[in-house]
């Protein structure tokens, strides 16, 4: 018994080290005001960079990123709630093809796809604009949204809808009275997934949005490019907050089956 306990403690400690080790370096870097080789710890710690970051462009980046994420999420849901329902319930011709088209952007390396898209977005006068960034993020967001929403509606037994139809409810009434209320936890989960995706999206946002549209990941990238490691570390830490919070919320709503049906037609 004792060896089991010892092994367990060793495993927990090493897991904690693997998870929190890199994070602790971020924390240390975020308060390092002066840290030169070969010192193990910073020679001078303080809130200088935090203060600098919190009053600077970072807040703008946070604001812009949140705005874009909310719009992308709303648009994705608006589009995929009805689409997911139709794909889940009806024998749509070329259903497999429709679902595959939404997977397609993920099948190729992001960089060339987005680089190509950027050319077109500039041609359509959406380069370096919020609208262009929203559009490019939709490409990835719709993948998550379509597949999860289809799974959400599939997880609702058809008999619940048939019971309403049988009593005289129209298809639309049935959708509003039965399917939609039952899908709300799934819609929330799907929305959170998309929101997180959008907040963290980097490649497309950088290519299309630069230099005028700045979100947190792009801001972090710029900061670390300029060897401002403390600033990059602080941004990284801040960027993790919405992810952690939303994941905790999502844990309540997300069922394994929503994600496990990814790619299954």
């Amino acid at each position: 018994m004792r060896t089991v306990q010892i092994v367990r403690i060793i495993l927990i400690v090493s897991a904690a080290f693997i998870i929190f080790g890199p994070l602790s370096s971020l924390v240390i870097w975020s308060v390092a005001e002066k840290w030169y080789w070969p010192h193990l710890l910073p020679q001078q710690v303080g809130w200088f960079y935090w203060a600098k970051v919190l009053e600077g462009r970072m807040l703008e980046a946070l604001q812009a990123g949140l705005l874009i994420a909310v719009v992308v999420t709303a648009l994705s849901l608006l589009f995929t709630v009805p689409l997911g329902y139709v794909l889940a319930r009806f024998d749509v011709p070329f259903k497999a093809l429709v679902l595959l088209i939404f997977l397609l952007p993920q099948a190729f390396p992001q960089l060339p796809v987005f680089a190509n898209a950027t050319v077109y977005l500039y041609r359509w006068n959406m380069g370096a604009k919020v609208s262009g960034v929203i559009l490019i993020q939709m490409v990835g967001a719709l993948v998550y949204a379509v597949w999860t929403m289809t799974a959400v509606f599939k997880s609702i037994p058809a008999s619940l809808e048939e019971a309403a139809i049988n009593l005289g409810a129209s298809r639309i009434r049935t959708f509003c009275d039965v399917s939609l209320p039952l899908a709300i936890p799934g819609i929330i989960a799907s929305g959170l997934l998309v929101l997180l995706y959008s907040l963290d999206e980097f490649t497309g946002t950088l290519l299309v949005g630069s230099p005028f549209v700045l979100t947190l990941p792009v801001f972090m990238y710029n900061a670390s490019q300029g060897y401002e490691l403390p600033v990059a570390s602080i941004t990284a830490l801040l960027l993790m907050i919405p992810g952690i919070v939303l994941l905790l919320v999502m844990e309540r709503y997300l069922k394994a089956e929503y994600l496990s049906s990814f790619g299954r037609i």
């Binding site: 037994p157 008999s159 048939e162 139809i165 009593l167 009275d177 039965v178």
Partner: protein
């Protein structure tokens, strides 16, 4: 409301779920559609409800041809195997849903919901109307589902294996209550089940289906006592099936190594036949014992196993290459036994025996 289907056909791709089904359902009575899974019984029910469109044929409610009508316009009410209650609505909202769709005034709705819940004996607690159905037991949920169907006073009540998800005790009780309710409201009811006991005990008329075909229609007594095909006979009880042939001279049938006098209509000498008898309709003899009935057919066999099943001892006996079941009130211990089948209990049908597992109830 008299319900009738004529020449109904329905295929899913290459699978024919209904092959030319014609029958009429007892007006105001309960018709059970009985058959193994995949026999087409649920397809038939869903065609009547309007959820499926038959490829060919017509469905009549009284004089009206409803074949092309959408499910909303048919005036049927269905009860599902999984209850299909809406978990986000209260018991009251579930039951009231159909009435709201019909635009019944508010105070009337409340009155009718309470009435129907009393009918299904669900006004058990003062707060029952506000409860969520998921907080109730399976049996209670199915009562609520029944109430939701009955409250709209449907032309036809459709029950799709409504008791299959419940445990044995609750099932027994609900059987009685569904039957009593059905008699009281007098709505034409179609009851789909794979449980022969359920069909026999509840129905005015039993329809036995197999592979999309109606095998036999009759009262429960007719179906049980005079099955017209080997399939029906076998499906309706713990039954033994023996393959055999008409003797070369045509003056008897050879089954299990024994020649039974008499022929089978429509089968030539040498042709295949199927002999069927029920496990509880025969006698088990130990050596030297004389058969208790004069014209019994005797099969010799080796006792393989005996199980006590509560009401009786079930003996597994090898006769030729076949394993036969015989129920006997006492345990027979000796290895070599004789099965005595009274002549009128041995039913012989033309055609090869369908090889299937012995079904036990």
């Amino acid at each position: 409301m008299e319900v009738r289907v004529e020449n109904l056909r329905k295929s899913y791709g290459k699978v024919e779920a209904l092959r030319d089904v014609s029958l009429s359902f007892v007006d105001g009575g309960l018709t059970a559609i009985l058959g193994p899974s995949g026999c087409g019984k649920t397809t038939l029910l869903r065609c009547i409800a309007g959820f499926l469109e038959p490829d060919e044929g017509a469905i009549y409610f009284g004089r009206d041809n409803v074949t092309g009508l959408p499910p909303q316009k048919r005036g049927t009410a269905m009860v599902f195997q999984n209850y299909a209650l809406w978990p986000h609505m209260s018991v009251f909202d579930n039951v009231a849903y159909g009435l709201r769709l019909q635009g019944v005034p508010r105070d009337k709705i409340r009155q009718r919901v309470v009435e129907v819940l009393e009918m299904v004996e669900m006004m058990v607690a003062p707060d029952i109307l506000e409860r969520k159905p998921t907080a109730l037991s399976g049996g209670q949920q199915q009562r609520i589902a029944l109430a939701r169907a009955l409250v709209v006073q449907p032309k036809v009540l459709l029950l799709d294996e409504p008791l299959s998800n419940l445990d044995a005790k609750v099932r027994q009780r609900l059987r009685v209550e569904v039957r009593r309710l059905q008699r009281r409201v007098g709505i034409t009811t179609i009851y789909v089940t794979h449980d022969q006991e359920e069909a026999l005990s509840m129905a005015d008329q039993v329809v036995v289906m197999d592979s999309g075909i109606v095998r036999q229609i009759g009262t429960p007594e007719e179906i049980y006592r005079s099955p017209t095909t080997a399939f029906v006979a076998e499906f309706l009880g713990v039954t033994n099936v023996l393959a055999g042939r008409v003797a070369a001279d045509g003056r008897g049938v050879v089954v299990g190594g024994v020649t039974v006098p008499g022929g089978v209509e429509g089968v030539l000498p040498g042709g295949e036949v199927t002999a069927v008898f029920k496990a509880d309709a025969v006698y088990l003899l130990e050596d030297g014992q004389a058969p208790p009935v004069p014209d019994a057919i005797l099969f010799q066999g080796d006792l393989v196993e005996v199980f006590f099943v509560g009401s009786t001892y079930r003996h597994y006996i090898a006769v030729g290459g076949e394993m036969l079941l015989v129920d006997c009130p006492r345990r027979v211990g000796q290895p070599r036994v004789t099965i005595a089948v009274p002549k009128n209990e041995l039913r012989i049908y033309g055609g090869a025996a369908a090889r299937r597992e012995v079904r036990e109830s």
